[in-house]
């Protein structure tokens, strides 16, 4: 319970919800089953550092081209500059996005989304829900879309985007991207003031709670120290340059192979573009680290983002070609 000064008229709900609210992991289970029952593939989190679920290839590359796809996955998303040594109750270096791609979007996608909220125990008859305009873009990925932030009792709980472009390419069909902020939704459902107090799991026999802080505090603290204090800047630049160099050389080869009319389809199909994209992701994460270290001046910034964009957009374009070869 948050401490509330006695003079305040701040009120809480008269009675707690009948059954105990979902734990963090139950929340994920429910969302996964809900969407699996509606035809989504459930993927595991991508195993390379990303800043958002959008950057995982299950989104960034799958949205390209004509093939329909429905996928959901919980993506740990790293934002080194957002770390607070585990001291700020609302900010995390790494948070979890439940990311959903519906390509093409079903006509009742909003209704399905509302049903998913009911599925995690949010009774919409007792809440205020609004879809407020919020357009999304990721310039380094040449990606943008229009959509909403979904507001529940004044709290943003989901980013809902109709992707229009990715990797600088027009999408056809477009897709709907739903990004649920899991920590924030869990804190809302469980009514805790600190993300670290979110109940991650409960022992089925004793009912003893394992909290988010028990699982993740150490990581938040140590990564904050590393991201802000100890990461070796010259070495980060070295890593960045070497990942970039490999990605660039692969991209050049990819473009040559894909443009070669004499090359066999099989040769084109086996070209390792997915690994090339991973190298681009590495660069993106290193950029975020350098940024958190305060090692990127304002003048440099635009240029480095352009370098990452060249890689990401380059892979997207090559990948789109590869799909139709």
């Amino acid at each position: 319970m948050p401490s509330v000064s006695s003079s305040s008229v701040v009120s809480r709900p008269a009675a707690p919800p009948a059954s105990s609210p979902l734990t963090f992991q139950e929340l994920l289970f429910r969302l996964q089953s809900f969407w699996a029952e509606r035809g989504c593939i459930l993927q595991q989190p991508y195993d390379v550092e990303v800043g958002a679920g959008t950057m995982a290839p299950e989104t960034f590359l799958r949205v390209l081209g004509p093939r329909p796809y429905r996928v959901g996955y919980a993506q740990p998303s790293r934002r080194p500059a957002d770390g607070r040594y585990g001291e700020n109750p609302n900010r995390l270096f790494k948070h979890t996005q439940f990311q959903l791609i519906l390509k093409p979007p079903p006509v009742n996608v909003q209704e399905l989304y509302l049903q998913s909220l009911e599925a995690i125990g949010i009774d919409l008859r007792k809440h205020d829900l609004k879809f407020e305009e919020d357009n999304w873009e990721w310039p380094a990925g040449g990606a943008w879309g229009v959509g909403w932030q979904v507001m529940l009792d004044g709290l943003e709980i989901t980013q809902f985007t109709y992707f229009q472009q990715c990797g600088g390419l027009d999408l056809d069909p477009i897709c709907a991207e739903l990004t649920y902020g899991l920590e924030r939704i869990a804190a809302f459902i469980q009514d805790v003031d600190s993300l670290y107090d979110v109940v991650w799991a409960r022992d089925p026999e004793t009912g003893a709670a394992v909290k988010y802080g028990d699982v993740r505090f150490e990581e938040e603290l140590q990564f904050s120290v590393y991201n802000f204090e100890t990461a070796d800047v010259p070495r980060l630049w070295e890593h960045f340059n070497s990942y970039e160099a490999e990605a660039k050389s692969l991209l050049e080869k990819a473009n040559a192979v894909l443009a070669d009319e004499k090359a066999a389809a099989a040769e084109k199909k086996r070209f390792p573009l997915l690994p090339t994209y991973e190298l681009a992701l590495k660069c993106s994460n290193l950029f975020n680290l350098l940024d958190a270290r305060g090692a990127i001046s304002v003048t440099e910034r635009v240029g480095v983002i352009a370098r990452i964009r060249n890689l990401a957009v380059g892979v997207a374009k090559a990948y789109a070609l590869q799909q139709v070869s």
């Binding site: 509330v4 000064s5 003079s7 305040s8 008229v9 701040v10 009120s11 809480r12 709900p13 008269a14 109750p89 609302n90 093409p104 979007p105 006509v107 909003q110 209704e111 509302l114 919409l124 008859r125 007792k126 809440h127 205020d128 829900l129 609004k130 879809f131 407020e132 305009e133 357009n135 879309g145 229009v146 909403w148 529940l152 009792d153 004044g154 709290l155 109709y162 229009q164 027009d170 056809d172 069909p173 477009i174 809302f188 003031d193 001046s297 304002v298 003048t299 635009v302």
Partner: protein, 685 residues
């Protein structure tokens, strides 16, 4: 006569775009029906909108167009009929007109004889016409940002179209818009009504049917409901009033289908944060209304407008949730405030080097140095105020860009700097100038309160304009990415509404600006006089033709001229001055020499010369005293002699000497009385 309803059902439209789209749809449908002769002057149009729909109801629509009779004219009679027998040309004409050969008539016109035919075109039904034309009108709506959603990208619209209602009375109009066939069912409130279809029995029952499904489609009514509910909720706190905020009311009107209002509370302790921060968090981030206590000061309450109606338990849950979000935002703001205090503004000047003002120009550190230079130059020609405080304010004006609070609430730049300057004891004058530097933010906004704030505001903007012009970033057409027009409007507004003894050319000199910037400012002055002050365009042209360097003087002249513009005497003077200008132009074109007015002989010419010589010094004295009303009244007394002159005297006399004297006379009159305005610019009915 039938009633026609069209409803476009959408996923949530951005609130900021709804009002414009609703009006445009109403206009397009109205024009379409009139163009297709389906409505007369008595048609009544009502438009509706909610976040999920745009609708228009037209009463008095014809079910079918009236038939049209048309007279067609074909080839010459002699070509169509040879010796009374029809030729190929006659047959072709009849075929094209769709009539029998026997129905072809002879038409006699001034030009000769032709074949002709009267064709009767039966009117089409409204349903037939609308099914073809409506989709074009709907998909032609303007959206600031739109999207594709269907495979193959057949159309773009603000958000996906999910249903369409199109009915004439109780009959569905068979129209398809963005792949959706129109029907007679709409949708109600997402939660309060659910997914069951809402059947519209007939067009005139549209609004009522939706009200039954918990949707108020009338925008004005939602606005009224919200205002009343805000009042009612506020009354639960003794003596409290909600802070009027019209743009926020409009936003929540367009975010709701079934609005209700709820009052929430936050802890007293957050009131130690400045009002500006609290109100920004509430208004811009949470769309909450702020509440004043009985003492007129900010009270620890807020009002939120819900898009639902819930029971008491629901109200408690929603209140609790909103209070919690607000509390965490206030906590953040207080944390940032405390962190920011650890590095005083004075210590932040150096770090401005890392904040880009403009890529090609430099950092905000560079910008600050430039502003200091301009401020010095302005102070030199504009005495008054406290130059030391102005200098301090200019030095620190941009330092708040490095604070956490401004990074979080960018809309508070300047204001935060001012508040920090005050908190850090840098003196009220400097603090106030920093606080006000970005006002007026719009043409409706007020100007900075102090001389120092006004000078800083002018210096900052003229420096920006000049530097941007210098790298080829002058606004062109609709492109003005750096809002330089707004910056120049602000300069003009400050000069117009302050008491600074500064002219436009002094500002331009202080800014080190060129003629391009000077011309840009003059153009903005004309805009200000016309669009902000509402002076007629001819008055503005007349006044600025006589000079516009002194902005407040130009306004005074425009006011005086506007007052006399309608009078009969003055209209005559305007006509006479126009005539003088024309005659002088003709004379110049023909190479006629202008002589001395002394040489005039005709009685009427003499009278004009005398009257002019008598009045000119009087008018000049009044003009110098800025007594423009009396000066113009004096000029108006010239009318009888001017009229007499033009009635009786042939100005361009064949005799070169006489002509020269006449030209000298009218040139003198023109020069002598055009110091307030160029009257020939005045448009006379």
């Amino acid at each position: 006569m039938a009633d026609f309803i069209l409803e476009i059902g959408l996923e949530e439209i951005p609130a900021r775009m709804i009002a414009g789209a609703e009006a445009e749809l109403g206009e397009r449908v109205t024009k379409l029906l009139a163009r297709e002769r389906l409505t007369g002057d008595d048609a009544a149009v009502t438009t509706y909108s909610t976040p999920r729909r745009l609708a228009v109801l037209v009463r008095g629509v014809q079910a079918t167009q009236a038939d049209l009779e048309e007279q067609l004219t074909g080839p010459s009679w002699n070509v169509a009929f040879k010796d009374g027998a029809p030729t190929k040309a006659a047959e072709a004409f009849a075929k094209k007109a769709g009539v029998e050969l026997s129905a072809v008539q002879k038409i006699t016109t001034a030009k000769g004889e032709y074949v002709g035919a009267t064709v009767r075109r039966p009117g089409k039904t409204a349903a037939e016409l609308l099914s073809v034309e409506l989709p074009k009108e709907v998909l032609g709506l303007y959206w600031a940002k739109n999207m594709y959603w269907r495979a193959g990208k057949p159309e773009r619209f603000v958000r996906p179209v999910r249903w369409v209602v199109a009915m004439l009375d109780s009959t569905v109009v068979p129209v398809e818009i963005a792949g959706i066939a129109a029907g007679n069912t709409s949708r109600g409130h997402r939660v309060l009504h659910g997914e069951a279809p809402v059947v519209i029995a007939s067009a005139d029952q549209y609004a009522e049917a939706l009200r039954g499904a918990k949707v108020v489609v009338e925008v004005a009514e939602r606005r009224h409901l919200i205002r009343k509910a805000l009042d009612k909720e506020t009354r639960t706190v003794a003596g409290a009033r909600w802070r009027e905020d019209e743009p926020l009311v409009e936003t929540v009107v367009h975010l709701t289908e079934w609005p209700t209002v709820l009052l929430g509370t936050f802890e007293q302790e957050y009131l130690s944060l400045p009002d500006e921060v609290l109100v920004t968090v509430m208004r811009d981030h949470q769309k909450f209304f702020a509440v004043n206590g009985p003492d007129g000061k900010l009270a620890p309450h807020f009002l939120t407008v819900l898009n639902t109606e819930v029971d008491e338990e629901g109200r408690q849950i929603i209140r609790y949730g909103n209070e919690k979000v607000l509390r965490s935002r206030f906590k953040d703001a207080r944390f940032f405030w405390d962190v920011d205090q650890k590095t005083p503004l004075a210590e932040r000047v150096e770090s401005l080097k890392a904040v880009t003002f403009q890529k090609e120009l430099g950092s905000y550190h560079w910008k600050t140095e430039q502003n200091l230079r301009v401020v010095e130059a302005l102070s030199a020609v504009c005495p008054g105020g406290d130059p030391a405080a102005l200098r301090k304010a200019t030095e620190l004006a941009k330092t708040d860009l490095t604070t956490e609070l401004v990074k979080e609430f960018t809309e508070l730049q300047g204001i935060i700097g001012g508040l920090y300057a005050r908190a850090q004891g840098l003196g009220e004058t400097a603090a106030r100038a920093i606080y006000d530097q970005y006002t007026p933010a719009s043409i409706e906004d007020v100007i900075p309160q102090t001389i120092e704030g006004q000078l800083l505001g002018i210096a900052d903007r003229i420096q920006t304009i000049t530097a941007m012009f210098g790298i080829g970033m002058a606004p062109t057409g609709s492109k003005d990415p750096f809002a330089l027009r707004r910056a120049a409007n602000a300069v003009v507004k400050i000069l117009a509404e302050s008491e600074l003894p500064l002219t436009l050319s002094e500002v331009v000199r202080a800014g080190g600006s060129g003629e391009d910037v000077a011309a840009f400012l003059r153009e903005r002055l004309a805009f200000y006089l016309k669009d902000v002050r509402g002076f007629a365009y001819d008055v503005v042209n007349a006044v600025l033709a006589a000079g516009g360097d002194d902005v407040r003087d130009a306004i005074a002249r425009a006011e005086a001229l506007t007052a006399v513009r309608g009078s009969e005497d003055f209209a005559a003077i305007s006509i006479a001055f126009k005539r003088i200008k024309n005659i002088l132009r003709q004379a110049e074109e023909k190479g006629f020499a202008v002589g001395s007015a002394e040489g005039v002989t005709a009685a009427e010419a003499r009278q004009l010369a005398d009257a002019s010589a008598f009045l000119a010094p009087k008018v000049d004295v009044l003009r110098k005293q800025r007594a423009y009303g009396p000066a113009l009244a004096e000029i108006a007394t010239l009318r009888p002699v001017v009229d007499g002159f033009f009635d009786k005297v042939m100005v361009l006399d064949p005799d070169a000497v006489v002509r020269g004297a006449h030209l000298g006379l009218i040139e003198g009159v023109l020069k002598g009385f055009s110091g307030i305005a160029d009257f020939s610019e005045i448009v006379t009915g």
